[in-house]
Symmetry: C2
Subunit: 155 residues, 2 copies
DNA sequence: TATTGTTATACTCTATAACTATA
DNA sequence: TATAGTTATAGAGTATAACAATA
């Protein structure tokens, strides 16, 4: 969809703003990562697997906030590109340890650089203060339980 | 999905933050609007139709940033709830003018109050400064062409 | 010929249910 | 019995293509 400057009734709605900000970022992310043969979700999986040792698929899915069935497809794709390897955990043979291959580590490094550059350009219209504030605000929204929906029982 | 505090590799990624902030808002929005029998997208349609006179489906879709085929389904749903009426434009009989019914205006008023209260709670963990800054930052991201993807030709 | 609304269709992302192998 | 991975399936949400009515 082509998006113009939104009308006033929409630009004050958090739902509209978050949805379209996310849409716009997804587009730019796809464009920036396309030369690297992965998308933003796959890059996030690589980053999580690289940052933690010996993660099972379920553990990685938990960190990423996605379903284990969704994880299967993501690991399938990354394994198909030879960026990730599955191996059975010797300690619990139900678990698949997902690990980056050397090619996966290399790809991660290059794609991460592209992502950082994309985010820098994405935030360029904002002042440094506003950019920092945006990230901080999103972190506290995402990182902490909202308390919304529990109505009011902070007693 | 259950979401915990995200690991450090993710909490600095704009994609992750925007996706999960939007997911969380969508949940709270659904919960807040459920008693009113509509969801956030339908409420946005009502708000746009109410704010502009004599909007055709295509014009409303353009303002909302959605496809005209998506608009058909939304108007179908709202018409089924008797919140919106279609009528042919006398000036251009290809166009469907979508208008709020009296019940639609009433529903809009009530649901908007619920949405504002939900957003207030959603932003409650943030300082007033951060909340205002978040909204302002999202507005400039969504409202203005990013310039990203055009590489660098601002000459 | 072009535009508006519509329908049929398909694609992406995600989740639920059920199966298997392990514990 | 419960858990991890997998598969089949289904549901949102959205888009593309084609068609009818109108311009």
């Amino acid at each position: 969809m082509v998006r113009d400057t939104p009308p006033e009734v929409l630009s004050s709605r958090l739902g509209y703003l978050l949805k379209h900000a996310h849409l716009r970022l997804t587009e730019e992310s796809a464009r920036a990562l396309a030369p690297h043969g992965i998308d933003g979700r796959e890059l996030a999986v690589l980053a999580v697997l690289d940052a933690h040792d010996e993660l099972s698929q379920l553990e990685a899915a938990g960190l990423l906030g996605i379903d284990r069935t969704t994880m299967v497809g993501l690991v399938d794709a990354l394994e198909g590109k030879e960026l990730v390897e599955r191996r059975r955990s010797p300690r619990d043979r139900r678990k698949n340890i997902a690990q980056l291959t050397p090619a996966g580590r290399e790809r991660l490094r290059d794609a991460e650089a592209a992502r950082r550059e994309m985010e820098r350009r994405f935030l360029a219209p904002l002042s440094d203060t506003d950019a920092a504030c945006l990230v901080r605000a999103l972190q506290s929204i995402v990182g902490a339980p909202t308390g919304v929906g529990k109505e009011s029982d902070p007693a």
